[in-house]
């Protein structure tokens, strides 16, 4: 598909959708959202780009192999669970840290966030792998 409107729009939408997906990922901590839906949103950005240009260009934009991305996501989720074990608690037990940077800026972060980022990467990796493979199959057929 070579539509000038879609290509121009895709260039602008791509970073916006990615930003939005990261927003959804962080929002998921206490509200609806999270790694799964965030990962889907991110995958949709790549799929939009693949539709507007081609799969090769979208793959180039991803930079890393999508299967490898899935593996790193799984590893991250696994590590977040191991943090509980390291503290002598059961697997997946959440650990929290609190850092005071200034009086008003206090950062609280914990392993569930790490787990969610892992889920984000897994969903992104798997969805993109499947959709790119399907799109390439179609290109070969036509």
């Amino acid at each position: 598909m070579t539509s000038l409107i879609l290509r121009t729009a895709a260039r602008y939408l791509f970073p916006l959708i990615l930003l939005f997906s990261i927003y959804v990922l962080f929002r998921g901590h206490n509200d609806p959202g999270g790694g799964f839906v965030g990962g889907l949103a991110a995958a949709s950005a790549y799929v939009l780009y693949a539709l507007a240009f081609d799969v090769k260009a979208a793959r180039g934009l991803l930079r890393v192999d999508s299967a490898r991305l899935t593996a790193w996501g799984l590893l991250l989720a696994l590590l977040s669970g191991l943090a509980g074990l390291a503290a002598g608690r059961p697997f997946l037990t959440a650990r929290w840290g609190k850092w005071t940077i200034t009086e008003t800026w206090i950062v609280k972060a914990g392993t569930p966030l790490l787990f969610d980022v892992g889920v984000y990467l897994v969903v992104l990796g798997v969805t993109v792998t499947i959709l790119f493979a399907l799109a390439e199959g179609e290109d070969e057929a036509s």
Binding site: A67, T70, F91
Partner: protein, 503 residues
Amino acid sequence: MNALPALPILLPLLTGIVCILMRGNLPAQRMASIAGCLLQLVVAVVLMVRVGGGTLIVAQMGDWAAPYGITLVVDVLSAIMLVMSGLLGLLSAVYGLVTMDERRERHYYHAFFQILLMGVNGSFLTGDLFNLYVWFEVMLMASFVLLALGGERPQLEGAIKYVALNFLASALFLAAVGILYGLTGTLNMADLALVLRGSEDPGLITTVSMLFLVAFGIKAAIFPLFFWLPASYHTPPAPVSAIFAGLLTKVGVYALLRMFTLVFTPDTFTLQLILMLAAFTMVTGVLGAAAQMNFRRLLAFHIISQIGYMIMGLGLFTQTAIAAAIFYMVHNIIAKTNLFLIAGIVSHKTGIHDLKQMGGLFKAQPLFSVGFLIAAMALAGLPPLSGFFGKWSLAQSGFAVERYAVTAIALGVGLLTLFSMTKIWNEAFWKPRPADSPLPATPWTWTTRERIALMGPVALLAACSVALGLGAGWALDLCGTAATQLLNPAAYLEAVLPGGARP
């Protein structure tokens, strides 16, 4: 110590991740897979030693107490099954060194193999019904991929039947889980057991239990829901079909054993039904096998027939009968996997599956043939091999509760099993090589690598069959402890929910 019960799940996951990351490096993937399986086996044996005396190991994932969190529970039955899955995983991984082709390995065979083991181990460990559903799905997803990987025509045909039937089973399972949750408001198995024992509507619970019977029945391949199994199990490469044959249907049997002892208290109607299903399963499986001339298809029908014996133990529902069923399951995993490995070696060496075209294997390969003979005779139940003691203790407990019909059927099916094992022996090993046979007339040549990777697992499993037969008293005692734990779940309930009630 909190880590120990989770390790049989975490190790294959980690190994799978490593295998994906080392995508281009096949030798490293193979080594990682074998090392991962070896560690799993070690962990399973350690767990076995710890729970063997009758204590349970419980871990509340994420430190969320039952019934709200996911609980992992290791009792003797779980530990026995974990040891079996560790052993089979290791042997299949070693066996795959020679028999697996590079094209499949490049498409993440090793990663999916590990994820399959993760699903199987998770099913054995979990104490939460919905989590059990999730592990079943993990296992099924991986098994779909392993079954279809390679994309050969018969493989895809088998995979479609396998996927369709197993999806149906999953849907039923999920529906049953939903209904049970609606009834009780909990999915923790220990909590469910407490709530259901105090229930005032046993009829409704029996109805729900039937849904579980059908769902797990499809996965365990019991009559009349078994037809997907002989349609698919002979199609994938040998190490895959060996682990499918050895482990996957047994996960269904395990789930039946767990659900119908811990969660449901089966009434006479249910037990009667299970016994009838067991009888039909034994008979149809063995008759189906008698009609087959393809080596692996014949063995696939025998899986069904053997599942009948395990279900029969559940249907008799006494301590000795359930102990016998567990013993039978262990024996069957060992013997059946060995037979599939041997069938795989024959087809790896010669490329043929049809028994009619085979012949003269005993003359050409005497040692290899003895391996087959041990596994086949163990399956058929000849003393002093493991199958004899399984059948003997099942029959004994059948007579003890005066279930003469089903016990007679079980013994008759034993004879028919012997008949079809003799058929394989006669056709493939004993009769002279047919003149037009594609088999080479000279003895096969073995490389050292082949000797270790192919004959090693066969020899080890054959030794296990013999050892299980010679040490049957000790093994039956262990299975007896497992059965006692299943029938008296008080310790299980106390370990998962200290104090008995919900906080």
